[in-house]
């Protein structure tokens, strides 16, 4: 519960004004909730993963399908609101802000197998779990999310992040985000050299490394230590962001904030004692010393998925994203398999905002098929990133497969303008919209 909302009613009602302003705008961009029409079926539907995609599609299908046997497979009992990790790592929210129980979000009337998928056989239509259960399915929805490959960063030890090593890892989870904040807070008190980078693989929320760089810059300025500090952003290729017009704007912002940007740097190892990061730079390597470094590792599909034959054979071969049609999110070789969220091998969209737009598409194609019709919904690559540029301001960046900007509020909320309203959406309205999505209501 938010600490602000259980005080006086008068105070709460004022927050209501805020909600009207922010939530109203954010809501106008939401996708429609599930239609009410029910379809009778006895299909066995297996959902791998109870994260944002898995929990939300379970709710939607439970609402739409009468008689379906829906099973969710996930060994995790905790749900993390991952868009909040940046706020935790910036000291703006406690770790608990991002935590809830998976059981809070899954609907009644379904089966939750509290184990992980160990083996997926799409030919035999069977999933085996880590506990040895054999689960047969008629339809499979892969919403496992991705795994953070910490081992790929040589010398890095997740247990040692914090102020002592000046090393953070805010992607790792709520507690690690909180320790990253402790490290960033201590660093910005005294200043020094801050280093940021991103992996060369596809990654969830490609804006987060940049946001965190801007937030650190902001704290240095607020604490009066920016003059005595240097910030380096090490990009993995020759751009900061894959969307050219956004990249151009970010270039300008980096210049304005006096952040040194270096390109073609892919993190290989970290020496947490000496505080030195080693990057592959073409044929050679380059060492960069730091006082604060937020490590973001390469990201891949879980091993069970990579070994299942569902991955692309000729694309992202070191990462293993599944081969779904980029419009329908239906598997290219196994038509009874769909993908939702980070696991999808599509050119854009490893964000919770994309999940929100994956959901109605998968729901439409699956429910339509069960009803004897053809689904029509398509995913256009929609990805959204509230790019925080300092505490109190953000740019609401939304784009599609073609790198078009697709603002939800054209002419009202300018996508490349640093606005308070965009910050407000991230800070106040986003989690509420996310939670409504999990329940299948947004």
């Amino acid at each position: 519960m938010n600490p602000f909302i259980d005080t006086a009613v008068a105070a709460a009602s004022r927050r209501g004004f805020l909600g009207l302003a922010a939530g109203g705008l954010a809501l106008a961009a939401t996708t429609p909730g599930p239609a009410r029409a029910e379809v009778r079926t006895n299909a066995r539907i297996l959902i791998l993963g109870a994260g944002a995609g898995g929990a939300a599609i379970a709710n939607r299908l439970a609402e739409r399908l009468d008689g379906a046997r829906i099973t969710v497979v996930d060994g995790k009992t905790e749900h993390w609101y991952q868009p909040g990790l940046t706020l935790v790592a910036a000291g703006l929210r406690p770790a608990g802000y991002t935590r809830s129980a998976n059981s809070d979000w899954l609907p009644g009337g379904i089966t939750w197998v509290q184990e992980h998928a160990a083996e997926v056989d799409p030919d035999a239509q069977v999933v085996r779990t880590t506990g040895g259960q054999r689960l047969e399915y008629d339809y499979l929805i892969v919403s496992t999310g991705l795994v953070l490959d910490w081992d790929a960063v040589e010398g890095f030890d997740l247990d040692r992040i914090g102020p002592e090593t000046g090393t953070g890892a805010h992607y790792a989870g709520p507690d690690h985000a909180a320790r990253t904040w402790a490290a960033m807070d201590a660093f910005t008190d005294r200043g020094g050299h801050a280093l940021f980078s991103r992996p060369a693989t596809e990654m969830k929320c490609a804006g987060a490394p940049l946001k965190y760089c801007f937030l650190t810059d902001d704290y240095l300025r607020r604490k009066g230590t920016r003059e005595a500090s240097r910030i380096t952003y090490a990009a993995h290729n020759n751009a900061l962001f894959s969307v050219p017009i956004v990249n151009a704007k970010l270039d300008l912002l980096m210049r304005r904030q006096a952040v040194d940007v270096v390109h073609g740097h892919v993190l290989r190892s970290v020496d947490m004692d000496r505080k030195v990061a080693t990057f592959a730079t073409g044929e050679t390597t380059t060492d960069i010393g730091y006082d604060f470094f937020n490590v973001i590792p390469p990201q891949r599909a879980p091993q069970a998925i990579r070994a299942s034959g569902l991955s692309w054979a000729d694309r992202w071969t070191d990462q293993g994203w599944i081969e779904v049609d980029m419009q329908t999110l239906r598997h290219a070789r196994y038509p009874n398999v769909f993908g939702i969220g980070d696991i999808n091998g599509v050119p854009k969209g490893k964000t919770a905002a994309s999940v929100k737009w994956h959901l109605p598409v998968v729901e439409d194609h699956l429910v339509s098929e069960l009803a004897g019709r053809e689904g029509t919904a398509t995913f256009n690559g929609y990805t959204s990133c509230p790019m925080i540029t300092r505490v109190g301001r953000a740019m609401l960046i939304e784009f599609d497969y073609q790198d078009n900007l697709v603002p939800s509020f054209p002419g009202v909320v300018a996508p490349l303008e640093e606005l308070w309203i965009s910050w407000l959406m991230k800070e106040v309205a986003l989690k509420a919209t996310y939670n409504a999505m999990l329940r299948g209501r947004a």
């Binding site: 004022r14 004004f17 939530g23 809501l27 961009a29 301001r393 909320v413 910050w423």
Partner: protein, 120 residues
């Protein structure tokens, strides 16, 4: 912009405040509105002295609403960046002013009871 539905809108607000608090807030707002209607009907018009005090309280409500919103969102006035920011902030001020003035009017009417000598 995609389709917009009232149920989605309500769902997000329930998530934002919690179902009970959200509907309690709606209830309180409705009660104050009803109380306002009640005193208007009971007094057959507005008490101008009470109305004057209510009007004088408007800037207080406006400033309080803006200050509260900035505090809740960890923002400062310097974060206001574009026209939409000013519009939203002015909207917050107007709502704060209007809401607080109604509250002040209703409170006076209920505490003092009856009509002002200058009621119209």
């Amino acid at each position: 912009m995609e389709e917009f539905s009232l149920s989605t809108f309500l769902a997000v607000f329930e998530e934002m405040f919690g179902t009970w608090l959200f509907w309690a807030m709606v209830g309180v707002a409705a009660l104050i509105t009803l109380a306002y209607a009640f005193v208007l009907i009971r007094d057959h018009g507005m008490g101008m002295r009470r109305f004057l005090l209510a009007q004088l309280s408007m800037p207080v409500g406006a400033v309080a609403a803006v200050a509260f919103v900035l505090w809740v969102t960890r923002s400062r006035v310097v974060d206001i960046g574009g026209p939409i920011d000013w519009i939203v902030l002015l909207g917050v001020a107007v709502l704060g002013a209007g809401g607080f003035s109604i509250l002040v009017y209703v409170a006076q009417s209920l505490i003092r009871g009856g009509r002002d000598s200058d009621a119209t």
